[in-house]
């Protein structure tokens, strides 16, 4: 059972990734196109360019297989991200894997991208098991979940407008910092004084409770606009450049403060003693430090390494392992969906 080899492909957004997983956690090969094959393919895979993914996918898969010292013929099972994401990008990975699974007559399963993020950390630390509170924060998603057990997820809160990573990118652009915005703001914020231009932490009115809609939900759009108004003021008075580090620090404090506060609420209500981070924003050290400092000694925080925090096929393989072991199989009707609903979601379930 556990020594079966699984090939997984992830192509939901800009990156193209393939992984070979043996058993539950033995990662034999793992390639992420933007990071590993940058030179070979001459630059970052452009946004919305599923054609570029089409160009690299053969190379990504064969390199992952070579790293695992395997051929396609030795793969026992196949998995692929079926959504959510950019439909053109998703289809590249989905059709590749479907074709391979069909040609080899091997089992196939489709994986939900955000569910895969829940599994990422277990590849590095097997203690990151349910029950836990999960905060998944990336350029496209901001989800707060209570993971009661694998396959059973209480959706506590999500963003009402911009995703957390999107807010970092857009605010970085307002301040004239680089892309991606998260690392740029984090770097700039280290030299800044967050108290010089304090922004209110969104969505944390003190009199709301777990039954209120806004108790766990998040919002970043108003904060983005507040930063923009401050930027314009400072621009007019000619002080913008010198104030950028302070603005970055203040924005980061408010944005992360919201994530920390909401996560603490979820920990308190669920009684969970583990918190798992996932998604690109999980690479922000200030988030891990801020959260770690507030969780108390009884709660363990699990933060994936940068490589497993961002989009990757290893986490897709790990999530697929779970679904395959439950006997789930996709047939050739499997299709990609840009708005694929997450499996196992229990809505409005604040407590178990």
């Amino acid at each position: 059972m556990t020594d079966r080899c699984l090939l997984a492909v992830e192509s939901s957004c800009d990156d193209t990734s393939a992984a070979v997983l043996r058993g539950e956690s033995e990662l034999l090969g793992h390639i992420i196109a933007t990071q590993d094959m940058h030179a070979e393919y001459g630059g970052v895979v452009p946004e919305v360019a599923s054609r570029a993914q089409l160009r690299v996918i053969d190379g990504v898969v064969s390199t992952a297989l070579a790293e695992a010292d395997m051929t396609l013929a030795a793969i026992d099972e196949f998995a692929v991200t079926a959504g959510p994401g950019l439909i053109g990008s998703l289809l590249v990975g989905l059709n590749w894997v479907k074709g391979a699974a069909y040609a080899r007559r091997r089992p196939l399963v489709g994986v939900h991208h955000m569910e895969a993020h829940l599994f990422a950390t277990t590849l590095e630390d097997e203690r990151a098991q349910p029950p836990f509170v999960a905060l998944l924060v990336s350029g496209g998603h901001t989800l707060l979940l209570h993971v009661e057990e694998w396959g059973r997820y209480h959706l506590l809160g999500q963003t009402r407008d911009d995703a957390a990573g999107e807010a970092f990118d857009k605010v970085a652009r307002l301040m004239g910092l680089g892309y991606p915005g998260g690392p740029a703001i984090e770097r700039m914020a280290r030299d800044g004084d967050a108290t010089r231009h304090p922004f209110p932490v969104p969505m944390i009115r003190g009199d709301s409770g777990p039954d209120d809609d806004d108790y766990y939900d998040m919002s970043f759009s108003g904060l983005k606009t507040a930063v923009l108004l401050r930027v314009r003021e400072l621009e007019e008075s000619g002080r913008l450049e010198e104030e950028i580090p302070h603005l970055a620090a203040a924005f980061q404090q408010a944005a992360l403060g919201q994530l920390v506060e909401k996560t603490l609420r979820a920990v308190q209500a669920s009684g969970c003693q583990r918190v798992v981070l996932g998604g690109g924003v999980a690479r922000n050290r200030a988030l891990a430090d801020g959260l770690g400092g507030r969780l108390g000694p009884k709660v363990t925080l699990f933060v994936p390494s940068p490589r497993l925090a961002t989009d990757n096929a290893a986490m897709v393989a790990r999530a697929a392992r779970f679904h395959l072991d439950r006997g789930e199989r996709a047939d050739l009707e499997l299709n990609a969906r840009a708005d694929l609903p997450m499996p196992g979601i229990v809505r409005n379930g604040a407590s178990p």
Partner: protein, 152 residues
């Protein structure tokens, strides 16, 4: 009436106007939304969706580029955001042809990045910052045979 504004609207006024559009404008309606980051394009788009009876979360489409909803009035609303596109990026992967053929609403943020690839019949909505921080300057132009404008 071919134009509305420019007028200085508060956020509640912008939202109320959007909700009225959602509840009463006749499809097909293509709304091109332009204006700087944080001006309120998404606020307006969300209000139109709500007015048409979309329930549940209406997340930013910046990442997925297109979010589609079924309105309670029976038609589809495509909420599209071209923010992440750069000049020259192909837009066919968005299902652009389907949007163009649509019989419902298309709410297109950062519409100027679509260049000339928009239908003749549309509303052009410009939202910009106003001297007062809690107001926005809003201006609408009705092009071609787009539905009649709705007053704020």
């Amino acid at each position: 009436m071919r134009t509305l504004g420019p007028s200085a609207l508060s956020e509640p006024q912008l939202v109320a106007w959007g909700e009225r559009i959602g509840a009463s404008a006749e499809p097909p309606l293509w709304m091109s939304l332009n204006g700087p980051l944080g001006a309120g394009k998404s606020v307006l788009a969300r209000a139109v969706c709500r007015g048409a009876g979309v329930t549940g979360h209406i997340p930013s489409p910046s990442f997925t580029l297109v979010q589609s909803y079924r309105s309670r009035r029976g038609f589809t609303i495509h909420h599209v955001d071209l923010y992440r596109l750069r000049p020259g990026d192909p837009i066919e992967p968005l299902g652009w042809d389907d949007l163009m053929d649509g019989s419902g609403f298309v709410l297109l943020e950062w519409a100027n990045r679509a260049g000339g690839q928009q239908p003749e019949d549309r509303w052009e909505v410009e939202i910009d910052y106003h001297d007062r921080a809690d107001r926005r300057t809003v201006e609408v132009r009705r092009l071609g045979a787009a539905p009649e404008l709705i007053e704020w």
